[in-house]
Symmetry: C2
Subunit: 422 residues, 2 copies
């Protein structure tokens, strides 16, 4: 099954918003063994949308188009696709009733443009929207009019807002795809997530031993991000599961246990919350330069409240002293960015929040604030433990401000994670 | 100038990573008046990359390809583009020396695959990489071999990691584009950022009065995000600046002053830091359900340390009592998610951190924890002020966990921003 994804919206091509649809939709499909072969982003003007849809239908069995179903004048997708298929738009009173109810429930007056959202392309399946106004639509053609092969083709239209698109996709689109375009062979994909070794080193360690499996159809992919490298193992056809299982064993045998922190959707924060929960241990945070980034990531994990007692974001010297009990002498003698202060921050948080672990970071994010002895990027981090001595670590992260915060959070969470691996 | 952007990488089509290149590159180009007409994402296999590059060159004057210049075996872009142009790869000793120096400076051994990164397509300009290993490359053709028109065409290859791609783009790519493909007419784009009114309402308020300017060439775009609607005003050709200026005046006249919180790159957090700095006021935070998300956003703004003294992430009842001085009776009588507790949290933070303002949020993020009286999504927020009574607000945000945190942070920052508008 060849799949193409078309995201419409001038704001995407003007760089005003991040296209999160691509990752999300591709991910949902890949998890079921469907692979998107191409993704395209075009402006929401008439000719661009029609040309892209026609080209995609010429290459693919399934084309998914997002955006342009809203109530304003630049929402043209519905009309243009109807035109492309030479079909009329028909008014569906039930949809209008639902839209009216949506506004009534929120005590808002329905704007006039919303009526157009009750128009549906003739013969299309309606994909109900219980999370907003415009429903999705699916055109199923037994013979693709735009491909010389003329095989079965499906075109799906979805509204742009993620909190409407995502539930419609799960509730209506995936079942429709599995019904209309079922997969013929199995597909297994496993991603091993590593932190602490570069991409080339990871490849040189595992690639030679995986070659026999590559000959049997294993595909290996590497994806390097800041402080992390993913190893992706894919196989299709009959023995897919066995091939991926063997490959995983080989990779785990070659890489140090501490290097692989999880699989597939695991993140450092989800692994930490899971381990702390299993060990019945609690955590506190004392963040200076990361400014709440670690707390934010930990609390993104459902169930974090069972293990995470609280955090302190102590940006100023006074707050380090008042809230964490860092000694003014330490601040004066060693400076706020020092191992001594990092240790006192962690130990202060441990005592004040009565937890088993407390993690602290203090550093210079930049762009200002560096000195010759402590250049921008210097970070001290410490892990205080109820049942052992405090550990400290020094890092140099000379990056832009947001990257600095991200990588520092990664390193601090790694310091904690290492202690949770039994 | 027609521009197409090709992002390569199977991890993008498998949905393993978010494509941040698209937004970033489109944005840099749009700010200079260059518009990307299409963005394409293909897997990093041979036929896909070659086919996409050839098609794009058939439509566009400038094609930018990201990814696939790394040292591992799935990095094929350089070879495939050379093949497409029927050119050889040549070894450049200076690039290898630079790569060797990169590894030496980091005390890491150079992996063998890195040598391939010193190969350059014959006749291509080298775009130096001072932030990683593989340099970018630019092929400038006086006559586009893939387009019947045969006009001038430029193809640019860039490495995938953002922290390498971005500085190369700024240092080498933008100057090259402006030199080789200069713009012929002016371009003005202004985005007004609003919070607190729906997309249709915004359009119905401003659209009628803008029609005369639309006839003169004004383009209006709307982009709705959670809790925000952007109004984008674009004009090209001679009177572009005057048209956009007039349009902005009309929009500002039609929308309530409090609705427009900023322009272009402004964010709620950057506006808050800027206003607090100008007013010489300081801020503290007491976050429960947002778990550090507000502190994280505020500290993303350079210079935040001047106005943001610190924050407390009080996830447990004990930490609300111990760290903020919330009274145990209040927690017992009203519950942690209540106006009384929100007020005590904000007032506790104000006193403990000695600031002018302190913002608090307490709510039920879900998925668990709701009751009939306080369903999932209930949020109480409060703003304590040194020079006035504490303000409180109740919101109902029934969304998934991360959306809940985001929209709650938006509303809390809006409560503060309203007080900073004089």
């Amino acid at each position: 099954v060849k799949i193409e994804l078309i995201n419409t919206g001038s704001e995407l091509l003007l760089g005003r918003v991040l296209n999160t649809h691509q990752q999300w939709i591709c991910r949902q499909l890949a998890d079921l063994g469907y692979e998107v072969t191409r993704q395209i982003c075009v402006a929401d003007d008439g000719p661009s949308i029609q040309a892209a849809a026609k080209e995609s239908l010429g290459r693919a069995d399934l084309v998914i188009v997002t955006g342009g179903l809203g109530p304003t004048s630049d929402d043209l997708t519905r009309d243009l696709i109807a035109q492309l298929f030479e079909r009329k738009l028909v008014f569906v009173p039930e949809i209008l009733k639902k839209i009216e109810a949506y506004f009534a429930a929120r005590k808002r007056t329905m704007p006039p443009g919303s009526k157009g959202q009750a128009m549906v392309i003739e013969g299309a399946h309606v994909l109900p929207n219980d999370w907003g106004t415009a429903p999705g639509e699916a055109i199923v053609c037994e013979r693709n009019p735009f491909s010389p092969a003329g095989a079965k083709a499906v075109l799906i239209l979805l509204p742009g807002p993620p909190r409407e698109m995502r539930p419609i996709f799960m509730a209506s689109v995936l079942p429709l795809i599995q019904r209309e375009l079922p997969l013929r062979s199995p597909f297994v994909c496993r991603t091993l997530r590593t932190a602490g070794m570069g991409e080339s080193m990871v490849e040189s360690k595992i690639s030679p031993l995986l070659q026999p499996l590559v000959k049997q159809g294993l595909e290996i992919g590497y994806c390097a991000r800041i402080g992390e490298v993913d190893v992706r193992l894919i196989a299709r056809a009959g023995a897919a599961q066995a091939i991926v299982d063997s490959a995983e064993q080989i990779v785990r045998g070659q890489l140090d246990k501490g290097l692989i922190f999880g699989v597939d959707d695991d993140s450092l924060e989800s692994v930490i919350v899971e381990r702390l929960t299993r060990l019945r241990k609690t955590l506190a945070l004392a963040e200076s330069c990361t400014g709440g980034a670690i707390a934010n990531r930990i609390t993104n994990v459902p169930g974090a409240s069972k293990v995470f007692m609280g955090g302190l974001v102590t940006y100023s010297n006074e707050s380090k002293a008042n809230l964490l009990g860092v000694r003014p002498e330490s601040l004066q003698t060693h400076g706020a960015v020092s191992e001594v202060v990092a240790r006192e921050m962690a130990e202060g948080a441990l005592v004040r929040l009565g937890t088993d672990y407390a993690l602290s970071v203090t550093g210079i994010a930049g762009p200002g604030g560096g000195t010759p002895e402590k250049p921008v990027g210097t970070v001290h981090m410490a892990l205080a433990r109820r049942d052992g001595p405090t550990l400290a670590r020094l890092q140099h992260n000379n990056f832009d401000r947001e990257t600095f915060k991200f990588i520092t959070a990664q390193q601090a969470m790694t310091l904690l994670r290492e202690q949770l691996v039994s």
